[in-house]
Symmetry: C2
Subunit: 252 residues, 2 copies
DNA sequence: GTAACATCAAAACGAACGTTTGAAAGAAGT
DNA sequence: ACTTCTTTCAAACGTTCGTTTTGATGTTAC
């Protein structure tokens, strides 16, 4: 097989194990010896197959993010073909962007929740090589979705849309990464959150589906919230002092 | 001065430097030699004053989080005294919880944006001693605010409120931690986001204020979003198949 | 003046880190 | 069968890590 660099399953086994360990411990706290030990391969195997620890992390993400972001672009393409020239509904755009990702959590063959959690945690890692990598991987898909949102919400200032996209990414990443983290913070037992469906949430795939169903309305609600008003004049300020944003109806 | 364990400013200088370096590099990637070097103190000073690197990180957080969470409790006390027995508005609760934190970002004496960013990033660190520490620090304040939200939103299932609290914490943490991170991801230049107010956003204090003004409406919108509906029967399901959540008005 | 505390410089500790090396073993091509 | 290329292996490399120790020098308190 000269089509591929290698045909052995050593590479894949390393990637699978590294994906899990990086998720559990973070990049810095996961050593080469932990990875090669758990994968039952020689210590030198990582450097042989990938070159370095940094390159290993990049490859762990590339094999999943590549598919994900292509799928996101395809989903957006499909939507835009349906409404040629017209504007999409925000809910459709969010579904294409976040739904595509959250559906990966239901599919173990695509990394499942392990990869989702890893992604959420790694996005905030300060290491420069990580940030550089993500910037490159996400550039195109973010650009496309940003423009789609601009068109879907023509009355909302573009800067505001970018901020809210930022917030939505954060809510999603944290919701995933902090599954065990913030469950401690919020003091909720795993069983508590279940309530209605006791045993299901322990299953990764069912959990991912529930998460998506709960997250999407939240994100939509945030995206469609009243615009903020600023306490100092920005460009112009001719409207009445208190507008829509400050006073909120008390009930949901 | 026998009132305090120590009177020197070595402790404070170490804490200030460690706060910044932990924020910039993360816990694992910040070495004792980097900290003591930048603080211009002896290498042994950290172990002398704090005992260990882990204890140093805890102390970095304790001196800020202690004040923050006490202030949050005081803010909630004040609100609840105004409406004895009654229910608060969700907006008031969110303002007390998130507003108190975001106002720290405007005050350099309380750590400013440096501490906020550190907090946002460290909340997702997988290290067990970190998670244990946060769980203890946050237990009471989360419990109080959770109950306040239950009372403010009596018609919303409590499990749903916990999830949305989780989402809101995520959106906030990420919004703060990812200031430089997701700015790269979203491909937005610092100047772009400004638009209306070009030079101000470079100032930490002004940035924190803007962030709060944009984040609060988003959080409120998410908290007050229509409830999700599940594709499989949970407790009971007698309403029509498609209810409020799925179909969303396309405009903001 | 003496006891207790704080800081320092310097050196060393063992442990763990990512990476490299050179040879052995295996697979593929002819 | 011989060669060539790839893969695996044990062992070692040099570095850095967090921590501890030793001894000297200020500093503060009673």
């Amino acid at each position: 097989m000269s089509e591929q660099k290698t045909n052995s399953d050593t590479r894949e086994r390393i990637l699978d194990i590294a994906e899990r360990l990086f998720m559990e411990n973070g990049y810095e706290a996961t050593s080469m010896r932990m990875i090669t030990g758990a994968a039952e391969v020689n210590l030198a195997a990582v450097n042989y197959h990938f070159g370095s620890k940094e390159a290993l992390l990049r490859e762990v993400f590339r094999r999943r993010l590549g598919w994900l972001n292509e799928e996101r672009l395809r989903a957006l393409d499909r939507l835009e073909q349906q409404v040629v020239g017209g504007a999409l509904k925000p809910s459709q755009i969010l579904e294409a962007f976040f739904g595509t990702l959250l559906r990966m959590g239901e599919n173990p063959a695509l990394g499942g929740m392990t990869f989702l959690r890893l992604l959420g945690r790694t996005l905030t890692e300060p290491a420069e090589f990580i940030q550089t990598f993500f910037a490159g991987e996400y550039a195109e898909v973010i650009e496309r979705y940003k423009r789609a949102l601009y068109r879907a919400l023509p009355d909302v200032p573009q800067a505001e849309i970018v901020w809210r996209l930022h917030f939505m990414l954060g809510a999603m990443s944290y919701a995933i990464a902090g599954t065990d983290v913030l469950r401690v913070v919020t003091g909720v037992e795993v069983g508590d959150l279940a309530g209605e469906m006791p045993a299901e949430e322990f299953d990764d795939s069912a959990f991912a589906r529930r998460l998506a169903q709960r997250l999407m309305p939240f994100l939509l609600g945030g995206l469609r919230a009243p615009l903020p008003q600023f306490d100092e004049p920005a460009v112009k300020q001719k409207e009445s002092p208190e507008k829509a944003a400050r006073e909120i109806r008390p009930e949901i």
